[in-house]
């Protein structure tokens, strides 16, 4: 599967692993893919995110805010969250989490439906934006970004399917 990833898409997956490790996560999740895509400012995917105001740091802050909001909603205080704010980076290679697996699965379906040969970061962005539930759609909604509008811009960047 990964042999069809172009060079930048391969870098995105590597970067996503690094994002997960930095955040102390032992699993690579969809939000790490999105953070890695936001870092790729020279790609269409990165540009689509940046145009929606989602550069890497803003996205990271939005993810933090979403986590905090979800915890506060059930009465966990910010103080309790702050204790665990800076965990040690995780060692080794993070395993694929369910949300990232789903994102890759959707990516492959999109690539197949379009008849594209190479998997570009834009395909990965589309696969990641396709989530119905979970951290990514909740975080985007919280900052007023419509994933479908983003996906439309990403599709326009890919051009007509074959």
């Amino acid at each position: 599967m990964f042999e069809r990833f172009d060079e930048t898409s391969g870098t995105v997956v590597e970067e996503a692993r690094a994002e997960a490790r930095r955040l102390g996560a032992t699993r690579l999740e969809a939000e790490h893919l999105l953070l890695a895509l936001a870092r790729q400012t020279a790609t269409e995917a990165g540009r689509v995110l940046a145009e929606a105001g989602l550069d890497h740091d803003r996205l990271r802050d939005a993810l933090d805010a979403e986590r905090l909001r979800s915890l506060e909603a059930i009465g966990v205080t910010p103080g309790a969250v702050a204790i665990a704010e800076r965990p040690l980076p995780a060692a080794g290679t993070p395993r694929w989490g369910a949300s990232a697996k789903r994102a890759i699965q959707r990516t492959m379906e999109i690539v197949k439906a379009r008849g594209d040969r190479r998997i570009l970061p834009t395909h990965l962005l589309l696969g990641t934006l396709g989530a119905r539930e979970g951290t990514v759609p909740r975080t985007l909604a919280a900052v007023g970004v419509d994933p479908r509008a983003l996906a439309e811009r990403a599709e326009a960047a890919l051009g007509e399917p074959r």
Binding site: V76, A84, A91
Partner: protein, 78 residues
Amino acid sequence: MRGEEREPEDPRDGLAAVVALRELAARLEATEVERAVRAGWTWERIAEALGVTRQAVHKKYAKRLAAAGVETGRRRDV
């Protein structure tokens, strides 16, 4: 606020809280295991305090702490 109308008891909020709690528990565990190791606690003692096996806690944190330069070889119990 979140793009569409919701019932106050939207299952999404509760389920997202579970995800966030799971993540918080993992972060808190890493933070507290590091604190205990830095204080010279053995893996056995940390494991007992956490209610897990020594192997489980060692497998999860030994490399991680070593990579961060935290000395973990000490056997002394304090």
